[in-house]
């Protein structure tokens, strides 16, 4: 008696028409469709997602992810020397990222670097000839400007000051989690790709939790508390549109205010218990600080 979701049986172009309507549910009923899916609260979110206008293709999302993975991989490879990365002459040195940063910190970042390099390889393989090239990065945030041959952006001490390095690592990991979460909705046409993206997504969350804890924070995000440098204030903020991509202090999920449900522990727990997605443009604005 399993009834397949009728939407699955509809020609994609027809689906697009249906979801271009302001109210997907009403559209389904008007068309005489029986939808084997959640009709009310959660479908309201589908409407929002479907009303974005420009929907990125699967390859668009994968290239977006690949760019973030390039960024993370290079950032960590410089610190750990992974993937044969020598310390670049364009950064102030010597590399002191793991000096006084606590026992085992290098082992932690070796593991993270290993994953990010694996993600780059995986995404490049999936994209084949459609893969974007690795951009140029300046992790000092100075868009490649130099003084005496060294990048001179606001994070000029990124590899000489463990605190700066760790703060940027947290920004990259928490942003990565939000980026994959926001991208998943655009991968539903390709289940294997969707699943792979989600498997990367939760690995990034494992990274984020550990980096945050090294910095003395909780592994989860409370409200929109942001201990990162000024330039990274957008990491926990809202995306565009905010209704689909709320800030991390959001307590309302699918119209349900989680903070006021009986038995729950209130606002902080409600914000910590749900991570929020971020849209491509907002993520690119954050990552763009380090690309030139």
């Amino acid at each position: 008696m399993n009834t397949k979701n009728v939407m699955d049986l509809i020609d994609p172009s027809e689906q697009k028409k249906i979801f271009a309507r302001r109210d997907a549910i009403r559209a389904g009923v008007t068309a005489g469709l029986a939808m084997g899916s959640l009709p009310m609260v959660l479908a309201a979110m589908a409407k929002t997602a479907g009303a974005q206008g420009t929907t990125p293709s699967v390859n668009d999302v994968l290239n977006f992810a690949l760019t973030l993975e390039y960024l993370e991989a290079e950032f960590y490879n410089i610190a750990t020397g992974a993937a044969g990365q020598a310390f670049p002459a364009t950064y102030a040195g010597p590399n002191a990222v793991f000096t006084g940063a606590g026992a085992g910190t290098q082992a932690v970042f070796n593991e993270i670097a290993k994953h990010e390099n694996a993600h780059v390889a995986l995404l490049r393989a999936a994209l084949g000839g459609a893969a974007v090239a690795k951009p140029r990065f300046d992790f000092t945030g100075g868009k490649g400007a130099t003084t005496n041959g060294k990048f001179n952006g606001p994070f000029a001490d990124v590899y000489t000051n463990p605190g700066t390095f760790l703060a940027l690592a947290q920004a990259f990991e928490d942003t990565g989690v939000r980026a994959y979460k926001g991208g998943a909705q655009f991968l539903i046409s390709n289940v294997p790709v969707l699943e792979t993206a989600l498997q990367i997504h939760s690995i990034e969350a494992r990274h984020a939790s550990k980096v945050r804890r090294i910095r003395g924070e909780k592994g989860w995000i409370t409200g929109r508390t942001n201990t990162l440098p000024m330039q990274a204030q957008g990491v926990y903020g809202q995306g565009s549109p905010a209704s689909t991509y709320p800030a991390e202090d959001n307590v309302t999920q699918a119209t349900i205010n989680v903070s006021t449900l009986a038995g729950t522990a209130g606002v902080n727990a409600a914000t910590e218990a749900f991570d929020e997605p971020l849209d491509v443009a907002t993520v690119n604005a954050i990552a763009g600080l380090f690309i030139y």
């Binding site: 979701n5 479908a43 593991e111 699943e195 990367i200 592994g219 699918a254 038995g263």
Partner: protein, 246 residues
């Protein structure tokens, strides 16, 4: 014990006449968008309070019930951890107690959210109760953390493996919600693993959970089918939960 009362929900009775009327009423409220054929067997009871549960993954509301069941188990576990008389001695570090209390609060928030979402969509959360094998010692830090690690990694694998049942335009909102939850479970898993093996690669090295779909060499986290996840969770749940429509 009082938590078990919270844990217990009213049972759906979709096969009784009254429930059929209720269903039709709800279907009307939902704009007639449901078809009766979608109405899965939510219970084939073996007695009051001990109804077994069948989840039909072809319908999104049963994916919600799946999430509810897993979150209810986790919430029950951490509630018992924190409420245990030995909590302060088993976990002598205040920061570890805070961490476990936070996780309890998150799992309760997840459980209550899914319960509310099921109800808001015209369903009834399944009635479930927990049991713990004798190997789980709530007075032992080692035992609690090992069990917590199992639950968190399993939870990650469950959400990642259930996404395929939400991969449609109609269910993409729920897919995003699942994504909001799974990354928090992964944050938990990382922290728990780090308490077990501090400041090593254990927080993210998933080579030990290849059996539930993780691929460490590719940096890919766990992903398991509902059938596999339910088989792993079954020793902790009194009711038999069966997955169909996979």
């Amino acid at each position: 014990m009082e938590r078990e009362q919270i844990f217990t929900q009213a049972v759906g009775r979709l096969h009784s006449e009254g429930s059929r009327r209720e269903f039709m009423r709800l279907a009307g409220l939902l704009g007639g968008a449901l078809v009766l054929a979608n109405c899965g067997d939510d219970d084939n009871g073996t007695g009051p309070g001990n109804q077994n549960v069948t989840l039909n993954f072809a319908q999104a509301i049963d994916v919600l019930k799946y999430a509810f069941a897993l979150e209810a188990l986790e919430a029950d576990f951490y509630t018992k951890v924190v409420a245990n008389g030995s909590f302060n001695t088993a976990f002598s570090s205040a920061s570890e107690r805070t961490l476990l209390t936070d996780i309890r609060d998150h799992e309760v928030a997840h459980r209550e959210f899914f319960k509310a979402a099921i109800t808001a969509n015209g369903g009834t959360p399944p009635t479930l109760s927990t049991k713990y094998p004798s190997s789980v010692d709530f007075a032992s830090r080692t035992s609690v953390l090992a069990t917590a690690k199992t639950f968190e990694d399993l939870g990650v694998s469950a959400y990642n493996g259930a996404a395929r049942y939400l991969a449609s335009a109609a269910n993409v909102g729920l897919l995003t919600i699942a994504g909001k939850v799974v990354s928090v479970e992964a944050r938990h898993a990382s922290a728990i693993r780090d308490l077990i093996s501090p400041n090593t690669d254990a927080f993210a090295n998933v080579s030990d959970i290849a059996s539930i779909g993780a691929v460490e060499a590719n940096g890919l986290d766990a992903k398991a089918s509902p059938a596999a996840v339910l088989a792993a969770a079954q020793p902790f749940i009194n009711q038999t939960i069966t997955a169909t429509g996979l």
